[in-house]
Symmetry: C2
Subunit: 261 residues, 2 copies
DNA sequence: CAATCATTGCGTTGTTATGACACAATATAA
DNA sequence: TTATATTGTGTCATAACAACGCAATGATTG
């Protein structure tokens, strides 16, 4: 028999006192989207014990607004702030929870959870999605048995519980938001070219857009600053750089855009 | 001192055993919209003990999908089925719960709830909205201390907890749905006139629409059957009656409409 | 019973948004 | 220097849309 490892203090606390600290039976899960090399990716955690991928998620403290809990999860993993974080759906199938995951997780410490332990109950989760710029993020592994990675949205595989359907639903919500909200502020670097922005839209929508019509429409929204610089270095003609006009971008976030894609 | 009333069995059960039957700390609330005499109304319950209005709501059984819980609430009050029921947001401000409501409610039975009673904990609620036809519904009072009524959306007043903001958020969600989903199937009688349908849209959107452009667009959606009958009896020219083409309506519900209002 | 009148059915027009495409300018690579 | 792929800008036909005109209708009124 393998020698039992020592359980870390923070885990022991959550295990035993979790229901004193957190709202029982409810969690938040975040689908954090990033854009890199023209691919839309989602931040997933590899959970060692069960060898599956999971969305970053967490519990809601007794006196904490739901949004804060989601923001806390986002912060813990990415460290970024000032991020567009959007609640999109609650998932509550009674069979979505899987008690064996937690059992396995504590087994290595030689702990068998009692049947009425709060972690083994049914959980309802509230789904959020966020969009962040991929480039300047150093992912943090906040636990020893979970490592974070960006996974291509089209190559989702071996996800825990119902997390794949949560990601897909988040993607759906993101797409429909694209119709009336500005997107890109948090997914692209400060300065970007029109083709880069277009690639982002094409990736999210999963279809080609006409280069010239895209530019006309995007300019028409009036949320971009055209800079006098160009992006040299790539082959061929150097495209102009743009940045978002933060004031107008925020205004558009509040009031919506009329674009139909 | 007033003599304490006898507590009904079902209440006693919920009070004492509720946390064995239901998910703790989580509820559903339904904003049920109806349309009558060109006014959009929402179904509210008058809660006698606190003399405030509340949304029909309920708890989620241990082994029940969230949607079923919402549907159960809808059924209990209205008896209708085959209804469009849409989850739109979770509300989780830690201060939204108000333990005094439950305390007052049981006070008349001479019961003082212990501080750790499950009803006194913080509740997170998942909001749904539904649209139903006003005319052939007999509202049911499922409890003795709550009576149901249709309240004009523009005359909301004296609502419990955060229920007013839930209704407003539901209305907002309904409006944005109007942009890409068919509406009316459950809000209007089987047969209706074009002006009646237009009034519904105008009421939800809270603005005037051009009569002729509305008709052209609506017909263009291809979800209406034009009947050969007209609605006689009103003064002036008798308008044609229409009905929804159920097959195409359902298809549009799934696939969306491209209309922008 | 004919005139009145608000409302309905159907149509027109000018403007704007959209999709599809043309062509010259430009930065690098050969 | 030339070739090539890409970008910047513009055009055109079509579709969608808002604003409006006018005749038909059916109850009301004198």
């Amino acid at each position: 028999m393998a020698k039992s490892a020592q359980i870390p203090n923070n885990k022991k606390l959550i295990l035993e006192k979790g229901d004193k600290i957190y709202q029982p039976g409810i969690s938040v899960d975040c689908a954090i989207f990033g854009f890199h090399e023209n691919v839309l990716k989602v931040l997933l955690l590899k959970v060692e014990h069960i060898n599956k991928w999971a969305l970053p998620g967490g519990f809601i403290k007794k006196n904490e607004p739901i949004e804060n809990a989601a923001y806390r999860v986002l912060q813990e993993r990415t460290g970024v702030d000032n991020i567009f974080l959007q609640q999109f759906n609650a998932f509550g199938d009674p069979n979505r929870s899987d008690a064996s995951i937690h059992q396995n997780r504590f087994q290595e410490y030689g702990i068998k959870l009692p049947k009425d332990n709060w972690l083994l109950q049914r959980f309802i989760t509230i789904g959020f999605y966020a969009l962040i710029d991929f480039t300047d993020i150093k992912l943090k592994d906040v636990t020893t048995d979970e490592s974070a990675a960006w996974i291509d949205i089209n190559k989702l595989n071996n996800l825990m519980m119902d997390h794949e359907s949560i990601v897909l639903k988040a993607l759906e919500a993101l797409r429909s938001q694209l119709a009336y909200l500005p997107i890109g502020r948090n997914l692209l670097p400060k300065k970007f070219t029109m083709p880069e922005l277009q690639k982002l839209y094409e990736t999210i929508l999963d279809r080609k857009l006409d280069r010239r019509n895209f530019q006309r429409k995007m300019i028409g929204f009036g949320i971009l600053n055209k800079l006098s610089e160009t992006r040299k270095g790539g082959a061929h003609k150097a495209p102009f750089l743009y940045s978002f006009n933060d004031k107008k971008y925020q205004k558009a976030l509040k009031e919506g855009l009329y674009g139909t894609w």
